[in-house]
């Protein structure tokens, strides 16, 4: 089935986004939520990687190959690098919030941490 095959990375990206959202909705532990957010984020990696890939293209490093050789897209890789940093950073910040919330209220369940209702 060539058509499904040619869309595979995009379907995987959609699936990971869905997984992340599902995890966030059904989470019972704040650390679990944070990890689900990281999974949701990895959907964008796969999407960008799938977009920039080219069959037969080499990595865009011209140390050993002549300039002008067919390569995969370097721009999406630069975007992905930014994305990786953003992921690490968001996780670090959210974890700090979770740790602090645990220290202040002794719970890590989103169900018990609901002082802001209404």
């Amino acid at each position: 089935m060539p058509s499904v095959f040619h869309l595979l990375p995009f379907f995987v990206a959609a699936w990971l986004f869905f997984c992340g959202l599902y995890g966030l909705v059904s989470s019972k532990h704040l650390v679990h939520s944070v990890i689900c957010l990281a999974i949701l984020q990895s959907s964008t990696y796969i999407l960008l990687l799938g977009i920039g890939y080219r069959v037969g293209g080499t990595a865009p490093i011209f140390a050993d190959i002549a300039p002008g050789t067919l390569t995969v897209d370097p721009v999406v890789q630069a975007l992905m690098l930014t994305d990786v940093v953003v992921e690490a950073v968001v996780v670090a910040l959210l974890l700090a919030m979770v740790v602090k919330a645990h220290e202040k209220s002794g719970t890590v369940s989103p169900d018990d941490l609901r002082t802001l209702r209404g």
Partner: protein, 605 residues
Amino acid sequence: MTAPSSLTPLPVAVPMLGAALMACLRKWLNRAAMDAMGILVAALTLTVSCLLLAKVIHAPSVYWFGNWSPRGPIVLGISFVADPISAGLAVLASTLTLLSLIFSWRLVDSGSNHFQPLMLIFLAAMCGFSLTLDIFNLFVFFELMSTAAFALCGLKTAEPAPLQGSFNFAVTNTIAAFLVLTGIALLYSITGALNMAQIGLAIGIRHDPLVLFAFTLLTCGFLTKGAVVPFHFWLPDAHAVAPTPVCVLFSGLMVQLGLVAVARLRFVVFAQTFAAHEGRLRAILLSLGLMTILVGGVMCYSEHHLKRMLAFSTICHAGMMLLAIALGGPLAFAAMLVYLLGHAFIKGGLFLTSGILLHRLRAIGERSLFAKGKDLKWTAALWFSGALGLAAAPPFLLMTGEAGISKTAEEMGKAWIPWLFMVGGGLTSAAVLRVGMHTFFGWGTEPITDEAAQIGELPETANEDQRIFWYQFAPAALCIAIPIVLAVMPGWLSILREASTIFTQQSAMAQLVYGNAMTTRPPGWSASLISAAVRGSAAFLAAILLALTSIFRMKLRRALRVGAFLESGLHPLRVLQSGHPGDYVLWLTFGLAMIGTANLILLRS
């Protein structure tokens, strides 16, 4: 073509450098020195932004970072667009930051001197977000703005509520950021470009499911920042827990920048795509705006926690600005910016005043403030002027903006929009009036209250001195005064109108990017202020009546207790605001699915 103004990167670079320097010296400087430095850097940013604005006021230009100007049709580098609108937003951002930093001088808890550098980074991010014309750079500044906002929101770590508020805020806005990034990736794959004007030209009139879905993702991402129903849940939680000076920036500009980004998408990136479906796109955005105004207005009136109340009023007004963007066209967009400007200062003034109340009276719930502020004459004056401003009554700037939006609406045969503005303005104004009459006059019986207002908010200022200082009062007074001054000197409106002609035209933007000669049409600002003044005053009068029915509810017959009913009778709507991150993500998914389906069905054919 004029030479690109070399000042363009400074509104971003100056606060960034300042923040890095201050973070370096954090351990060695005392509070006053840090505050002074923060104020100095913010003032410097304001100066360079003003210089930039003055320079580009008649000659918008595009600035290429690293000197990478486009090669033929292909844009290589990142560009900032220096037009009066973007530079003006930078000026607004630095003014609000400066006022907030002055307000927090030595009194608001600074979290061991982390507060000032974070505020400066927030400022840099807002300036960058307004100026950039590169869609991935927009994402980077979106994320920088969010990161600084999450941190600032959790400043008061002494209680669990702030952490919960900032957690909800962080989760929803991070999802929004990845929606935006996914949209960017999809657009990149079909256009191979990241510059908005280039993307716009490359998409052309294409509107297959892919383009529609990318549009859905990008708009939903930015509408989450813009707190449009059903993406708005994070906003009241974040505002309830953030320190007052931070609330000023959140409500004054951060939320509205999300809407400005939607405008950029609509006018620059997807301009030709929806040219044939203009009416249907308008219908989708209008219905979102309508829902936002109603939910925001009603919830605003039913809140009793001052900051949450003001936060819902921001949602209501964000809905009004979305209406203006939905209408489209240069006049409506210029009017939206006028509205944004007026709203930013009025809302900033109201937040600062509530901060003064929190400092002086040590409470933020309506019931605990009841009749406590009888001797605070000047604070009361500010509060009631703010209420007048929110109703878009004369002499405030919101009236001018409302006039422009209503004129466009009437030209398009949507006569219900001015009425909707009156409803939204009236409801938010009535809520502010109700609190004012309770607090400063002590009228009526003890106010109704609710669960959320009962959380004792720890005062954010040090305990020993409860006087109101001039540096707390002056920023609030300035915030109320500026929209009046701007409204009585309408000379700048024609410049804004001219700039918005460029902003709302894809071809004009593309000409700027590719360095061709500009042709601007003679501008005109001809919206009838008199009918707007009448509408605004009527809304304000209605608001007074509504507030009075709430205050004297015990003396009224049951049928006349409209205000009391609005205050406590809307339980189902309040239940949705559950404070559970899972619920908020669910509603985000709901909005995404609905808007995506609507776009696909209505804009496809």
